[in-house]
C-alpha cells in the first residue's frame, strides 16, 4: 500500500530563501583608494565572450585576472596609469593603457591568430587546464579556429566530434547517440544552455539537433561531474550557445548538400543588448517532389536558435535562449513521423563582488513524438512527450585563492506521456508526473601547489505526483492494484544522496595523477527501440515499480605533457557499478503493452575499462590517437537465466585517429579513422519449426559479436578573406574506402537446392562512400 501525503506540506521554498539572501546589502570589500577595472573580453570574429582569457599588468604579471564564464573580468587597483595586456590562446594579444581615477570599464576585442573561421573542432581540454583540472573524465570541446574534422554531408557536428574522444563511442551509423564508459545513450543527459534536450538527432542521425554555428563551447563529463550537474548516470554533455555581438552586425550563410542555414547577430542596443539568431532547414524534400518515385515522400527538418543577451549593469546580465527543432518524415496520406524539441530558458547573472556571483535560471523543455499510419480503413497513432520545467539558483564563491565554494538549489516538474495509442476509435494512454527538489554544494580546495581536492554533495528528493494512475504488479507482471492519487498529492518519494570526491596531485610540473569517486542518479528513463535517432523510444520516470537508476563510479587518471607541452599523453581507468538498469523482458518490445512498467525488468550493471590518449597540440600537423578498452555487463533476474550478460553496447576495443594539417594559403585538411571490434549481438543458437515456419532459439542475450566497424573520413577546406566578407569551401568524403559496416543484422534460412537448408546471417549497411561539398560566407 502506497503512502499518500499532501504536496502542500512538502513545498520547498529554498529558492525563495536564497533569493532573499541574494538581496542583502553587500559589504564594502575594498578601500576607498582603490578602483575597479571591469570589462569583457570578446572575439573580434563573432563577438563571443572568451572564457579563461587573462588580463594583467604588463609591468607586473602577477597582478591580473581571468575572465569568467561570461567573459568578464575585474581588477582592483590604486589610482594611477596602467598598461594592461589581454591574452587568449588562438588569438593575438592586445595591450591597452588606462588612466584610473574612478571605477572604469575596459573591454578587449581579440583578433583570431591564424584561421578565420570558427568550426566545431574537438580539442581535448587545453593542455594546461587538463593537467590541473580536478574533474577526472571531463573533456572540453572548443569551438575553435585552429583545425577541422571531417563531417557527413559537409555538416560539422558537435555530437559526431565528441564520438572521437577516448571513452566516448558512437552507437553506430544512423544515430547521433553516443555511449560513455559502458553506459547507453539513454543514460546521458544533454543540456543546451542548461536545458535538457531529448533524442538529439535529425533524420537518420545524419545531423544532431545542434547547429554548430550557434555553439560556443561544450564540456562532456564522463561520469565524474561537479555537484551542480546530475540526472544522468553515464555522462552529461553541457552545451553553451553564443551571445550576439554587442558591437556590430554579422551575417553568415551556408549551403550544404542537404541543408542550408543562416545566422544573424548584432546589437539591438549598442553595448547593452544583442541578439543571435540561427536557423537551419533541410531542402532535399524539394528534390523529392520532382521525382516520380519519391514525390509522395515527406522528409525534412529544421531548427531555430535564438539568444537575447542584455547587459543590465556591470553586475547584472540577463540571457534569454530559445530553441525549436522539428523533424517530419512520412508518406503522403499513409504514414507520418514527427518529433522535436522546444526549449526556453532565462538566466540572470548577478555579481555580488569580484569573488561572489549567482546564476538564477528558469527553464522549460518539451519533447514530442507523433507517429501515425493509415492503411486501408485502419488508423494507428503512437504519441509521446516529455514536458519539464523548473528553476535553479547556483552560487559561486571564491573565499580565498585556495578555495572555490559553490552551492545551489533546483526544482523540476516533469510530466511524461509514456505512450498515447490510438487504434481507430480506441484510445489508451499512460502518463507520469513527478517533482524533484535538489540541493547541492561543491568545494574545490587547493591544499598546496601539488594537491587539489574537490568535495561535492548532491541531494535529491524525488516524488511521483498524483493526477495519473499508478499500479502494483505481481511476479507474473499482472497489475494487481491501481492507484489514482489526486493531482496535488504525492504518491511515492525517493531520497537520493550523491556524494562526490576527486583529487588532482601534481607529480611534477608536467605530470599529474587524478582519482575520483562519483555517485549519480537518473529518474528519466528511455526504453530504446534499436539504436537509431528515430522517434520510437519510450520514455518514463521512476515510480513505485521502477526505482531510480544509481551509478557508483571510481576512476583513476594520469596526464603528462612533454616536449614543451607539444605532446600530451593521458590515461584513465574506471569501474562503474549501476543499480536498477532497465532492459526489456523476453518477448516484449516497446509497443507490447501500454503499461510500460510491465514489460521491463531492472537489475545490476557493471562497466570497467581503460582509456588512452596521445595528442599533438602544436605545429602544422595536430591531432590525436585514442584507444579504449572496455567491458559492460548486466545481470537482471528474468533475463539470460539470471546470469551476467554483455550489455547490448558492449564492445572491447575502440580506436580513433584524428589528424588535422594546415598548408599553403588558408588550406587545411582533416582526416579521421575509426575502428571498433564488434558490438555485442544477440544471435540464435538453434532453430525449430512451428506452424510451418522456422523460428530461432536464443541461448544467450548478446552472446555473439557483430563484425568489426571501421571507416575513414577526409575533408579539405579552403578559406578566403576579402575586404567585406570571408568565405569557405569545404569538400569532404565520408567513408573514404566505401566500407559497408553493419547497421542491422538479421537471420533467415538459405534455400539452396544442392545443399541442406542452413541459417544465414546477413547485414544491412546504411552508408557507403558519400562525397560532400558546402559553401559558407560571412559578412
Amino acid at each position: 500500500m502506497q503512502f499518500l501525503f499532501k504536496l502542500v506540506a512538502n513545498k520547498v521554498i529554498l529558492l525563495s530563501l536564497l533569493t532573499i539572501f541574494c538581496s542583502l546589502p553587500q559589504s564594502k570589500l575594498f578601500s576607498q583608494q582603490s578602483y575597479n577595472i571591469t570589462g569583457v573580453v570578446i572575439s573580434e570574429l563573432n563577438g563571443e565572450e572568451l572564457i579563461g582569457a587573462t588580463v594583467y599588468l604588463l609591468d607586473n604579471k602577477s597582478t591580473g585576472s581571468v575572465t569568467n564564464i561570461d567573459g568578464k573580468y575585474k581588477i582592483t587597483l590604486p589610482q594611477g596609469k596602467y598598461n594592461l595586456k589581454c591574452s587568449y590562446i588562438g588569438y593575438k594579444s592586445q595591450e591597452k593603457v588606462i588612466e584610473l581615477k574612478a571605477d572604469s570599464n575596459l573591454n578587449f576585442s581579440l583578433e583570431p591568430d591564424g584561421f578565420t573561421f570558427d568550426e566545431i573542432v574537438v580539442t581535448s581540454r587545453e593542455s594546461g587546464l587538463k593537467l590541473n583540472d580536478v574533474n577526472i573524465g571531463a573533456e572540453k570541446l572548443e569551438i575553435a579556429t585552429l583545425s577541422k574534422t571531417p563531417a557527413m554531408f559537409g555538416e560539422k557536428d558537435i555530437i559526431k566530434s565528441i564520438q572521437l574522444l577516448p571513452g566516448v563511442k558512437s552507437e553506430g551509423d544512423g544515430t547521433t547517440g553516443f555511449q560513455v564508459r559502458g553506459g547507453t545513450a539513454s543514460q546521458n543527459l544533454i543540456l543546451l544552455d542548461g536545458v535538457p534536450i531529448y533524442n538529439a538527432g535529425h533524420i537518420l542521425g545524419i545531423f544532431s539537433t545542434f547547429n554548430d554555428e550557434m555553439l560556443t563551447n561544450a564540456t562532456i563529463f564522463k561520469g565524474q561531474m561537479p555537484s551542480n550537474l546530475g540526472g544522468a548516470i553515464s555522462a552529461v554533455l553541457d552545451l553553451n550557445t553564443k551571445n550576439g555581438n554587442y558591437d556590430k552586425y554579422g551575417l553568415t550563410a551556408s549551403l550544404g548538400l542537404l541543408s542550408a542555414r543562416v545566422n544573424v547577430e548584432g546589437p539591438i542596443i549598442k553595448d547593452k543588448m544583442s541578439l543571435y539568431f540561427a536557423a537551419r532547414r533541410s531542402y532535399f524534400d524539394l528534390f523529392l517532389k520532382t521525382s516520380k518515385t519519391y514525390k509522395d515522400n515527406i522528409l525534412n527538418f529544421f531548427d531555430v536558435n535564438s539568444k537575447l543577451s542584455i547587459d543590465l549593469s556591470q553586475q547584472n546580465q540577463l540571457f534569454i535562449s530559445a530553441y525549436l527543432g522539428h523533424d517530419n518524415l512520412g508518406l503522403k496520406d499513409i504514414a507520418t513521423m514527427r518529433w522535436g524539441n522546444k526549449t526556453l530558458s532565462t538566466r540572470w547573472f548577478h555579481q555580488f563582488s569580484k569573488n561572489f556571483y549567482v546564476n538564477t535560471t528558469g527553464f522549460y523543455t518539451f519533447y514530442t513524438s507523433n507517429n501515425g499510419m493509415s492503411i486501408m480503413e485502419n488508423n494507428y497513432e503512437m504519441n509521446g512527450f516529455i514536458k519539464q520545467y523548473g528553476g535553479k539558483q547556483e552560487y559561486y564563491l571564491k573565499t580565498s585563492e585556495q578555495n572555490n565554494f559553490s552551492f545551489g538549489v533546483q526544482s523540476n516538474f516533469i510530466e511524461i506521456l509514456t505512450a498515447d495509442w490510438v487504434i481507430n476509435n480506441y484510445k489508451e494512454k499512460e502518463k507520469r508526473r513527478s517533482l524533484s527538489n535538489i540541493v547541492w554544494l561543491n568545494d574545490e580546495l587547493t591544499i598546496d601547489d601539488k594537491l587539489t581536492i574537490q568535495l561535492g554533495f548532491r541531494f535529491e528528493m524525488y516524488s511521483n505526483l498524483g493526477g495519473v494512475s499508478y499500479y502494483d504488479i505481481d511476479s507474473d507482471f499482472q497489475i494487481t492494484q491501481v492507484y489514482n492519487p489526486r493531482f496535488r498529492n504525492i504518491f511515492n518519494t525517493y531520497f537520493i544522496p550523491e556524494p562526490r570526491i576527486s583529487a588532482n596531485y601534481r607529480l611534477t610540473e608536467n605530470q599529474s595523477i587524478k582519482i575520483g569517486y562519483n555517485k549519480s542518479s537518473q529518474n528519466i528513463h528511455a526504453l530504446r527501440n534499436g539504436s537509431t535517432s528515430m522517434p520510437f523510444d519510450r520514455y518514463t520516470i521512476s515510480t513505485n515499480n521502477l526505482k531510480p537508476q544509481i551509478a557508483n563510479q571510481i576512476s583513476l587518471g594520469y596526464v603528462s605533457l612533454f616536449e614543451e607541452k607539444k605532446y600530451e599523453f593521458s590515461t584513465e581507468a574506471y569501474f562503474k557499478r549501476t543499480n536498477n538498469v532497465l532492459d526489456y523482458r523476453d518477448g516484449k518490445s516497446y509497443m507490447s503493452e501500454i503499461e510500460l512498467e510491465t514489460i521491463v525488468l531492472s537489475g545490476l550493471g557493471k562497466a570497467y575499462g581503460m582509456e588512452f590518449n596521445f595528442k599533438k597540440n602544436m605545429g602544422a600537423l595536430t591531432g590525436w590517437i585514442s584507444y579504449t578498452l572496455s567491458w559492460s555487463k548486466n545481470k537482471i533476474d528474468g533475463i539470460n537465466k539470471n546470469q551476467w550478460y554483455h550489455a547490448a553496447n558492449d564492445r572491447r576495443h575502440d580506436i580513433s585517429i584524428v589528424a588535422m594539417c594546415e598548408f599553403g594559403n588558408n588550406w587545411n585538411i582533416g582526416a579521421t579513422w575509426q575502428f571498433n571490434t564488434g558490438q555485442a549481438l544477440t544471435a540464435p543458437s538453434a532453430k525449430y519449426e512451428l506452424n510451418g515456419n522456422t523460428f530461432y532459439y536464443y541461448a544467450e542475450r548478446n552472446g555473439y559479436r557483430a563484425p568489426n566497424y571501421h571507416r575513414a573520413d577526409i575533408s579539405l577546406n579552403k578559406t578566403r578573406k576579402k575586404k567585406n566578407f570571408e568565405d569557405e569551401w569545404s569538400f569532404g568524403i565520408y567513408n573514404l574506402y566505401n566500407r559497408y559496416n553493419p547497421f542491422i543484422i538479421m537471420f533467415n534460412e538459405r534455400k539452396v537446392e544442392e545443399t541442406p537448408q542452413q541459417t544465414q546471417a546477413f547485414q544491412y549497411s546504411l552508408f557507403g562512400i558519400l562525397p560532400s561539398v558546402s559553401y559558407t560566407i560571412r559578412f
Binding site: Y584, D586, K687, E689, N691, A699, F762
Partner: protein, 269 residues
Amino acid sequence: MLITAICLNSCKKDISLDYNSIPPIPVIEGNLSNLGLLVKITNTVDLNKPIENNFIEGATVLLKSDDGIVEQLWDYGDGYYSLLYNFKAKPNVNYSLEVIIDNVSFKSESRMPELAIIDDVSFELKSFGNVPLVFCRLNFMDIGGEENYYQYIIWRNGEVFDWGVDTSKGSENERIYLDILCMNKDKADKNDPDDYDKIIFENDTIDVEVQCISRTVYDYLYSLSLGTMVGSNPIPNFTNGALGYFSAYSTNSKRLTFKWSEVVGYETN
C-alpha cells in the same frame, strides 16, 4: 522508400558467424479445437543443419479438462500424437496438456473461447506511393465480452503463407476488420523464384482461417512474431523450458481461389 531516398549506397550482404551448439530442447505444438486434436513434438536443431528427422517419439502425452476428461494420447510416429477417436473441444472449458519426455514433465493450460465466424474475405490492390500492394481483407464479428484474442492464418495450397495475431482492442462487441498485407504486385510481376514464397499466383487455393485463442497463447504467438526484431525467446507457454504452445481454440475458415480479375482495384491499377 524514405530510407532509400537518403541511403543511396546502402547494401545487404551475407556475413559469417560461428554459431554455438546447444543440447536439443523439446518443441511442443499442441492444437486442440472444435475440429480436433493434434500434438507434434520435435527437438530444436543446430543452425548449420536442416530441420528434419528431429521429431520425438515415445513421449507420454496426457490431456485433461476441468469437465473430467483424462486421456493419454497415442503416438502416431514422426512426432505426432493424438487420440484414437476424433476428439472435439468445447468452448469455455479449461484444458491442460502434459508431456513427459525422459521423466521430465512439461505442462501447459488453455481455455477454449467461443467461435468467431468469418463474414467475408476478399483481396484488394492499393498503391502506397508508387508501390502496389495486395491486401487480404478479412472481417468477422467479435465474440463479445472483454478483450478477445485472435490468430489468423492464410493457407496457400495447403501450406502456411502468412499468419499473425490481433486483439479485439477497440472493437469489442463489434465487427473486426483486418487488412493483411500479402504481397507486392511488382514482385509478383517480376516472378523471381527467390520470391515464390511471397507471391500468391493465379488460381492458387487460399484458405483464410480465424482462430479465437486464449490470452496465454496470444502472448506466446505475439512474442514469437517479434522474432529477430527483439532477439529474444517468446514468453514461455510450457513449464520446464519446453518451447512451443498448447492452444485450445475455436476455428473456422473460408476458401477461395485467387484470381487477379477478382482483386478489388486491379482494373484501376
